[in-house]
Symmetry: C2
Subunit: 338 residues, 2 copies
Amino acid sequence: MPSTRSSRPRLADVAARAGVSTATASLVLRGRPGPGRRARQAVLDASHELGYRADRSASLLARRRTQLLGVSMDVRSPFHAELIEEIHAAADGLGYDVVVSPLTRTHDERRVVETLLDSRCEALLLLAPGLSAAQLTDLAQDRPVVAVGRPVTAPGVDVVRVADDRGVALAVEHLVALGHRDIAFVDGPSGTISTLRRSGYRRAVRRLVGPDAVHVVPGGATEDKGAAAVSLLRGRPVSAAIAFNDRCALGVLDGLRRDGRSVPGDISLVGYDDTPLARLGTIDLTSVSQTPGEMGAAAVRAAVERLEGARSHDVEVLLEPVLVVRGSTGPPPNRTMP
Amino acid sequence: MPSTRSSRPRLADVAARAGVSTATASLVLRGRPGPGRRARQAVLDASHELGYRADRSASLLARRRTQLLGVSMDVRSPFHAELIEEIHAAADGLGYDVVVSPLTRTHDERRVVETLLDSRCEALLLLAPGLSAAQLTDLAQDRPVVAVGRPVTAPGVDVVRVADDRGVALAVEHLVALGHRDIAFVDGPSGTISTLRRSGYRRAVRRLVGPDAVHVVPGGATEDKGAAAVSLLRGRPVSAAIAFNDRCALGVLDGLRRDGRSVPGDISLVGYDDTPLARLGTIDLTSVSQTPGEMGAAAVRAAVERLEGARSHDVEVLLEPVLVVRGSTGPPPNRTMP
DNA sequence: TTGTAAGCGTTATCAG
DNA sequence: CTGATAACGCTTACAA
């Protein structure tokens, strides 16, 4: 009668069954060169028959390198969710594994980072980290640290982000190409990101339309701020608006509809972030994408370069945003031929 | 001159500095009884001065019990994100730690489960698992398995979910209390969940309004299906609708507005899931909450009960949903006094 | 090519 | 109350 407490098979079990040493078995199972055909086949068979899987803790403990990338994320952010997917895929391709630790009510960023380090992660990819530049620099003292999606200047840490000013410029270019000349910008909350996007708007409008065409109204990062901004849009003739982000745009959209103005019939609207929200059939918002695929790959690459000694100086990877055109933008109403 | 390659301090370093054995140091650092005041203080000081943190792999490897709960989740689901938070908090309280492994393009449920097991998790909490009942039962052979949020009948696995029929019934009761008598149900996709919600609707309407008042129209789980259902709502006088879920409700909302009907002025609307979407100021949807806090706590409790031998029979925890009343429901128009 | 044996950093057992 | 010392399960020099 077999013991009711069936423990997982260990490497020694596989080795015994295959009639080889654990050393040989280990080499075979990790696909390392050395063992011959006979031994290889025997180990593979035995492993399969026993349903063997290596114990992660033991393996990590024994290994010199862990090839583990630690990622901190905000569980609530859909954008982070996408990044996680991409980071996973990119890491996979380079032979690295990923440990994600979610920020929650009970686990703040400091604690999450410690957990990651306790888990023997060799590098840290921090998604939109809230830690100060000094703290980041301090962390980077002992291992590669990559700040993803937040423009920080912290010596020793690599940064991967999308050019915010370029993103808004893309939106302006798109609208101008459609024939718009009265394009407003619904600003975001105070902060680096808003500043970058606003200046991107300013420069693009000045260049493509004219210095007097700049029209920034205060807004914010949330729907209600966007909705509130709608009343400020009435002062001047406006045929298109670019919002700080998708949530803000959603508020603008709703406010406009309440006003009886149709989108894009009366006014075109562009958001930022290309969130799943923007993709909803009923919202269908033209939006600027931060290209999570590129970001994830670049972040992993940055970490791995450092780990493999291919680079020792800091790097800031500035990615190009992509405008995703959907149904919320179109030609302006009553377009007059020149 | 200290070596530039500063490796983390080990337990032995702490012990040496404190002038005690590693055994004593270990006991102190884990807050176990035994060591006296002197030793205790010395170890604590040394540990602090060195910035010591235990190596997780080594600790897990050596420990008899790992007290690790493995959780699989769909990164894209905001509801899962909430559950993760709650599970984390609940586990914390019971002295357990949580390992989350996200389902992604490159990591399907089988692989995620294997990773979790390789990491020495003692129990599995699977959020809305897609595995078959047979597979779940198989997994549950060797450790506690809790299926969260999906009604599966798999011998050996515990289930934690919210009573779907009760949720819809709550919505019906709310609407009837407001004076509605013509309440439609916009159905979901084929499946267990839809069946449960639909029958909850049927029973409640029959009981509170009358057998002829039942009015189910086909819908689906997404916005477009909801929007399409709006045209079917015109056949009968309808003063309120309950949608299969929030996304479907969003489609209904949009369709109604396009029709020029106001919510809740002309028609009241209730969603299901209480997603962040429902909470948006511009949507403000009355919705049925699956109470993630309760679910998370119940799931952790179920796993821990099994692990600690407090229970050996299967259990299905059926939680009460909660109706979150927001701005999309109100009294019916032209209410005639009896 | 293959096996022996020494770690990896903790925890846990068991004498003292 | 404290300290050796043997696990834990795997990787990896080094030797055969």
